[in-house]
Subunit: 198 residues, 2 copies
């Protein structure tokens, strides 16, 4: 096998296992077994070990989501539609996996600590990136910058909270309510402060 494919397989195995069981519960030996890779290749590609692997796994998913948001914006989709689509994608995957799976960020967010500085940094970077992109989308629709950022943050909180409720109740309905809730909060902000171009 090529060196690059071993790295990709290790990362994919780590992402999948973390999404099912969280960060701490997954051992490096579990990841190597799924990836069919030797231990040496893990430390070759991820010299700082599991913390680094967690960070790269989060960064990979974060980049996918960022690319998705950017592509939808380029197509002319509005902020709440993009948020609704992200919620729907999580809902479908959770249903397919019979609620034994969570989106990566939510699955590992509560498990960072002093021993996982790289993972903590990657998580903060992921949220900051989505908040910025979604905030720009709201701003393009006429919201003042600070309102746009606040709407983006609230939408992300609603999404992540809905993921928890969906997992616990084994029912994706909370995710399917996120778009309407965000639409309503955005409408309220618009009533408060009419956009200068409105």
């Amino acid at each position: 096998m090529s060196d690059a494919s071993a790295r990709a397989r290790i990362l994919a195995a780590a992402q999948d296992l973390f999404q099912r069981r969280g960060f701490h519960a997954v051992g490096l030996s579990d990841i190597l077994a799924v990836a069919k890779a030797p231990k040496g290749s893990l430390y070759h590609h991820f010299p700082a070990g599991k913390d680094e692997l967690g960070a790269r796994a989060v960064e990979g998913i974060a980049a996918d989501v960022t690319a998705y948001i950017a592509a939808r914006r380029a197509e002319g989709a509005g902020a709440v539609d993009i948020i609704g689509d992200l919620a729907e994608m999580s809902a479908r995957r959770m249903e397919q996996e019979r609620f034994g799976w969570s989106p990566l960020i939510a699955a590992v967010a509560h498990q960072t600590g002093a021993d996982t500085p790289l993972l903590a940094q990657a998580l903060a970077g992921a949220y900051a990136g989505w908040r910025r992109l979604l905030g720009e989308a709201f701003a393009d629709e006429g919201f003042a910058p600070e309102i746009a950022q606040s709407l983006a943050r609230t939408a992300i909180a609603l999404l992540e909270g809905a993921v928890i409720l969906a997992r616990v109740d084994r029912d994706a309905a909370p995710l399917r309510a996120v778009q309407r809730q965000t639409t309503r909060l955005a409408a309220l902000e618009r009533e408060d402060r009419p956009p200068t171009n409105g």
Copy 2:
């Protein structure tokens, strides 16, 4: 030591460790070490092992929150004030613990699976109980039952999502925004459907 105190110490140690590291990462030996209890007492009090211990830990916290909500309602507090207080309590504890701690339900919610049926049941029961109580509080303020339940569910999603953002960003601001967001969503519902006594 008395038998009852060993059980209480094991449960308190489990709650604390789960809140810091999640469910799977905490070993029974970690819990016994913190609780200063012998292994036999764990299986005596929790015959189904870690899954049962997780379930009882969640039920204990859920009962505390339920009692708090009931007490605040008895004092005449409104639904959004109670939600704001719950958010503020989480915010303060997370700050005190320098964001190395999460409220128990959020900390373990993504880690349930086929091997943790008791924990999964306890988590679902905890949310159902809070949703019912907060839903009753909204209903008492004149919201139709299905709107009241929907507001309660949204408020809980906002709370849990804000906990994730707070932990990742090491900043409790998202929790301190929950009360205002819930107030606004409730106000919108009131505009849509004026209460019959309004």
